[in-house]
Symmetry: C2
Subunit: 174 residues, 2 copies
DNA sequence: CAATCTGATTGCAATTTGCAATCAGTTGCA
DNA sequence: TGCAACTGATTGCAAATTGCAATCAGATTG
């Protein structure tokens, strides 16, 4: 995972930033899952990332200017990872990527509901979500009022899981 | 480059399709560079892909349904690679990716001019470009009339190269 | 004081990458 | 006809990368 600088093409350079199996997954979990700590990212992602890979990618994303790390005042050992503006502006790309995947790939119902909501909300919803992220991660932007986008996405996900439980007829794994 | 199916998340599945160093570069060269043959892709991309990697990725992209291969009637050995609708609908994602890269990464002038034009043109231009690609690669859609998007992008690129030559004061490499 | 949780690091085997060389069939040209 | 150049690949192989398992030291909790 070195930084090649193979060419100055924007698409190539973008690929050199997150053209691997894990970087964008980590950013997805921070952005949509609201995860901020190492352990949350390690255990939270359903793809099962290994701890050394996670450590390596977090370091790389910090070097690239996509993340910053600060200490957690409540726990001297905890680190809090925050998105930079550079990472927050990936939201529209992630929304497009999710929409494309929903059309062409065998996505699962529960996991694609968020992509669907984000697609239906369109650019205004993305903008609001980015402002919420700026509030949470950069401390800029006024505090969001009313229902946050993340709460809407989370509610949609939980409703989908509930529908699925009803249909399958058993409780989800704890 | 096996297909994992780590999770049914749309973003994860999308990453499993082109979350590597080369797949999207190849698609970029076919889409924006108009390359259709193995050799064109091998020598044309400025990132310098190796022939075995190219062969492997072309095969994989065919298995994933992003490309099809047909024989060239004028040359019994030549293969022509064509985009599928699945690949053509990546155009908006590539446009966003290029726009993001232009803002945040050290892109070169000549190579980012296409991304800039595509960004300025917005969704209407992307739609027109996708229809041109459908005409060229799928045989559907009516033949484009007037200046094609690819011609506009190519003209912009050449003008940028010319400006650069003037500024630097020497001829470009042949 | 012991168990547990924190963000990592290390060893190591398997896989992936990509350079160099090579291949067999096709075409162009003298 | 003969031969070089070109076509889309394939193979060998060394180097780099990946990721599982085990482990680490310091901080917190009970």
């Amino acid at each position: 995972m070195n930084i090649d600088r193979r060419s100055g093409c924007p698409i190539n350079l973008s690929l050199e930033v997150f053209g691997d199996r894990w970087s964008l997954i980590i950013l997805r979990d921070i952005i949509f899952g609201g995860r901020r700590h190492f352990r949350e990212l390690l255990n939270g992602s359903m793809e099962g990332i290994a701890s050394n890979i996670l450590a390596d990618r977090l370091k790389r994303l910090m070097e690239l200017g996509m993340l910053t790390k600060t200490g957690d005042p409540s726990h001297k050992q905890k680190a809090i990872y925050s998105l930079t503006e550079m990472a927050i502006t990936l939201v529209p790309i992630l929304a497009h990527l999710g929409a494309w995947g929903r059309v062409w790939l065998p996505v699962s119902d529960e996991l694609s509901i968020r992509a669907e909501l984000l697609e239906k909300g369109g650019p205004p919803m993305w903008e609001q979500f980015m402002n919420e992220l700026r509030y949470e991660h950069l401390g800029t932007s006024p505090a969001p009022t009313g229902a946050t986008v993340r709460a809407i996405l989370q509610a949609g996900y939980e409703a989908a899981v509930a529908r699925n439980v009803e249909r399958v007829g058993c409780d989800p794994a704890p």
